[in-house]
Symmetry: D2
Subunit: 393 residues, 4 copies
């Protein structure tokens, strides 16, 4: 028991009183080391070189194409030379050209592109899918009977928060932080303020969202409402159902969000902070959109391409209150990032949602490494910013 | 109490034993009558004629434009002549040209188009929003204290089903039935069979969905799986994560869904039934898409335009297991339909979802007339088809 | 817009930076005034005196008994003398004896008790149910069309939090704060710490829960786990499924919780804080219980009686993460409290839960005045304590 | 593909058209065979005899007591003689007396009872926990990457239904079918009718519920409402909030449910069917109860004892729309049943609920063998009865 109490004392905690402790930690040690595959194992050292076949048509791949997962995948070029597919994602194919591999969506393949062939994973066809690179040393065998084997809203999230704080502090200077936001984040005053604070203080390298998030955030800056409801008092404003249409019309009149912010003298919010800090944002169109705002990308496959640019760089992703964007971006994300110095680090994916269904759904779409925090995005952001801002002072 | 029991006996019921009773009813009586506004009331008879202003630019509307709701809205042309805006939707504007009104999304407005101006609703500016046309005679005053004032999963849905059966039977010959489907409908054998049966027997005039529904339905026809999981046994097939990518690749190779169904000799499913019965379907793109299939509309605003064609005609809409498409289509739907003979009838909107949140969210986006049935789409479809097919024999 | 921004600045906010502002407010002004009924209105001044009939048997009430709501209810004693039923609750009956009224559950009625008769609410039978005592001045008419008329997880909760902080600060010295807790509160280190802090600092006058909350809280104090899962790291401890049984066995061996805390030298947690600060707690038994702990009340109607003692005194109730206890206690709570000086104040009921269903269900059981905050109880408690403890320093 | 289609044809389906096929199956083959442990394995053949220690006090067990799981557990009596603990449950202890083992809740242990000691599971202390008795032959290794590894509302339930139909048909004559019901089942006309049909036709050997289910079912029989809401039309009846109190008062007046059914001439419903068919039911009290009805067991530990009687006999349990009772009964259920002829068969546990959280929560409380069907209990019952009643005709 004394061991347990001692351990508890090491928590930095959502509760701010413990925060000083945290800052003594060596942040560089927080990333787990990566163990590459042992290519001297017989099944790998005897593996054949990988094969390719030309794509038969633009956007069509050959039979028996290899589809990527989000794990590190290595290709055997022959002679014991293996290369890692970097900037990977799931559900794409591998184009191998001049001993360089590129992970490409099938729709972007051109006729004749050399597509890697084979669906085995242990070297049989020169492909090795490496799922254990970040594993901790083996754990003891599990009990035959146990409670609480599934994550739910009753799972304790204290450490998840603490880990997240650490990674964010680390990656602010040594990574690429991507936020994926649903519109609910802009509907509440405190969470909107918190998100603004995070962006203004370097905790956001890219923001991915849809027309609704940007629209309602600008609506809040201009009218103090979200879809007509006061973001502080909850009161429904008279004729408030016009507000988001009016702000869209204003932005369309000025031709761009940046110009509208200037002309309308908007002074707060998420999009305001992105513009001020030159943080890139991608607004992907959807069939639910009013407007849209001029910056919204109407063709969803162009939007995917724009999002993928950030997926290639991401070291941590926080996706909140949007199943559509979370699954879309989760899908184009690898679980690892090869860094410039050749080392490999994990890519963290945090999902913040109210329902077990959303977290499970993401896992069911392949993003099993995602860490779910089941709570309201409003409180999540407030917690996060209350903690991280302590360092700003 | 005897009254209550008698009434209960009149139910046709999800339970099939009572089904013969139902068929004796006069289906034509099921639609509630519409009471037009009383334009002789002083505030309307004294109303000014409505005003318009030209749009300043393509896709930009004048200040003080009138935004539409999903209620019947009447415009005063002057001299006591009022016209109803037909084929309406919410969050759009009214173009009044040659005494004819068209309900147009702001993004489709052209420079100079005469846009109706004014935000009052009771005739003050020549606009009357009529919210009580389908109201039953006034009810007695409510108690000061009551239980169960909110609809939840515990609300009894027996009558909702019965009403729905009636409207579907009626509208099969006298209306336009639109289905809006999420991919989960194709993930289960029974629900997929049921949906196929409904389409093949005339209960679907148009189907709206995304790339995923069509992909997984074709995957089921070809592989018997949905995203790699057997749609009957739940078992995960070896390498099943390739299945949906493989079927997409096949369809892309053949160039169209119709051609692929023929060449691959597919014989069942939702899309198969649509093709066989020439039921139009709209597949709207989203950032979550793999592929996409060739028929998917990549630009979401083009997709909106394609969906709106069916919104203009719809008399009943059933939206299941998709928040994105449900809200999108709910947004472009009026609560009424002006028929060729000049009469006005309600447009029914049924939402089938597992969570109160989804039903509430649709209401919060303005579709307050939607009837929510909180259940799994699988069982809903099986119930529906078990009942409706009784007439087919 | 400037108005909107100004208003936003007055928010004290979950975000701590604004906290100083709040402390300047006059806390006594936070409670809305109560407007008693106007008994000079004809329907009240002409009302007959209320009638009673004797209960025919123990635990059986006469036909046409009057059932209570949670609103203020007044009885006419005759001659224009009306009395308010104090310490009321819903679904009970009124015993009128010697011009004093007592609100009693039907099961506690004794044969011959004079039970108030009548089911009208506007004085027709000498009973007046007053639903508008705390209403603000009349608001402007609502729009015919509006978004966001229903509360969901997307509702902005910033002000709900701020109001709650104020009421808790006020009622710490001038009210009776009751917490109703589900076991999940003890499953997470931070929320458990926060709840301990709230109790130790006077923000809890009574705690209502079940065997599970107490058991898992003591389990956490002894083993650092909740149902075998580490409350900080989430790891499942070897043989952890014994932990809660072991602590129950220990407490049963010592004969009481207080004795076990002393003997086992437990030093933290929710129950520890209650014992230390002499805060009364009621542990009501349920069929889900292991053990139980010695203090648990096995007969649920005895437990109801023990809970009702606190319901009679409560001025604010916060119910978290338990549908059973929330609805049970909501049921025995009035919406008002008659204070010693004769004034009437509201009783606040906050429901913290993850699902719209739980909040709706409480409303459907009559507690329509409840304020729902849809979030994880963990974050709710951390927010609360982060804010309230600022004053402690 | 032809294989997949063929397999699909073997489904009996929620869709009734395939029902004849099913009846040809040999129902006796549906139960999987049980493979007992191989006691000749060295770790078991060399195992010591199990040890016991006397309980130190009534309701207190010795240190290092062995706590039961819901798996088959065997005790070594010495000399190679092992006995199976029958009628087991989780979270209890083993009393070994005269070479007979009894699974007893700790609260029911008497001072001096010989309690089995030891927490190892593989024979080290004479205890063997056997988790693989019903396992099918080993399956092929799983892919390194797969979708849909978690059960959600999107999981296909067609086969779950078909399996359930089969087991119910089998167990109607060869087992013991227990239903655990939440009150929502009585709130809807169709589901209430279906449940009545199932009981009247032999598909229910015992019914477990609370005061609310019985109250609202009797309310429906008397008033046609559930908590004041018409169970068919959804309309709220005037003064309907009295209905459940009135029916409780009537039953209390008559002294018993059976007498009230007779005197009030009630003719339909769940409780009516139980009384008519002499199906035993246990109504366990809870702190949420109004009333209660006379048959309700107010002490929850007495209620547990009454429920356990049915748990000892159950071969299939269907728990619907109640987390409290589902977890309570799941807790006292073993995953196996030793039959009179010495063979061992599985005990099926189906959970019907709307939320992944409820299904996960049950699993987190140890009932990992539960089959979850995520849907509305209303539709589940209608499906079930539509299918099963086909045989009745």
């Amino acid at each position: 028991m004394s061991d347990s109490i001692a351990r508890q004392k090491t928590s930095q905690s959502r509760i701010l009183i413990h925060i000083t402790f945290h800052q003594e930690r060596n942040c560089m040690s927080i990333l787990p080391p990566y163990t590459p595959p042992d290519f001297s194992r017989p099944e790998l050292s005897n593996a054949p070189a990988v094969k390719v076949e030309p794509a038969p048509r633009d956007g069509v791949v050959p039979n028996n194409y290899h589809g990527t997962s989000n794990h590190p995948e290595y290709l055997h070029l022959g002679g014991g030379k293996w290369i890692l597919a970097t900037e990977s994602r799931m559900d794409s194919v591998l184009i191998l050209l001049n001993n360089t591999v590129d992970v490409v969506e099938a729709r972007r393949v051109k006729k004749g592109d050399p597509v890697v062939i084979g669906r085995t994973e242990n070297g049989e066809e020169g492909i090795y899918v490496h799922t254990t690179g970040f594993d901790p040393p083996a754990e003891a065998a599990a009990d035959k009977f146990a409670f609480r084997t599934r994550g739910t809203r009753e799972t304790p999230f204290s450490r998840s928060y603490d880990d997240l704080y650490q990674v964010l502090r680390h990656d602010r200077n040594n990574g690429y932080i991507v936020w994926v936001l649903g519109p609910a984040v802009a509907f509440d005053k405190d969470s909107r303020d918190a998100m603004q604070g995070l962006i203004e203080n370097g905790y956001c390298n890219a923001l991915l969202a849809g027309n609704a998030l940007a629209t309602h955030d600008l609506e809040a800056a201009y009218f103090g409402t979200g879809l007509g409801q006061d973001i502080y008092t909850q009161s429904l404003r008279p004729l408030g159902h016009y507000n988001h249409l009016d702000i869209i019309n204003e932005v369309r009149r000025y031709g761009s969000i940046a110009k509208a912010i200037e002309e309308l003298d908007l002074k707060n919010g998420i999009i305001y902070a992105c513009e001020k800090k030159k943080v890139p944002y991608v607004l992907a169109g959807s069939i639910r959109d009013d407007g849209p705002l001029p910056e919204v990308i109407g063709n969803v496959y162009d939007a995917q391409d724009a999002m993928r640019i950030h997926a290639r760089k991401a070291t941590i992703v926080i996706a909140m209150a949007t199943q559509l964007h979370s699954i879309a971006f989760g899908n184009m994300l690898a679980s690892y990032q090869a860094q410039e110095d050749g080392t490999v680090r994990p890519v963290y994916l945090y999902i913040v949602d109210m329902s077990e269904f959303s977290a499970d759904k993401l896992a069911n779409r392949g993003s099993a490494q995602a860490v779910a925090i089941l709570t309201n995005a409003q409180d999540f952001l407030v917690n996060l910013w209350n903690n991280l801002k302590m360092e700003e002072k």
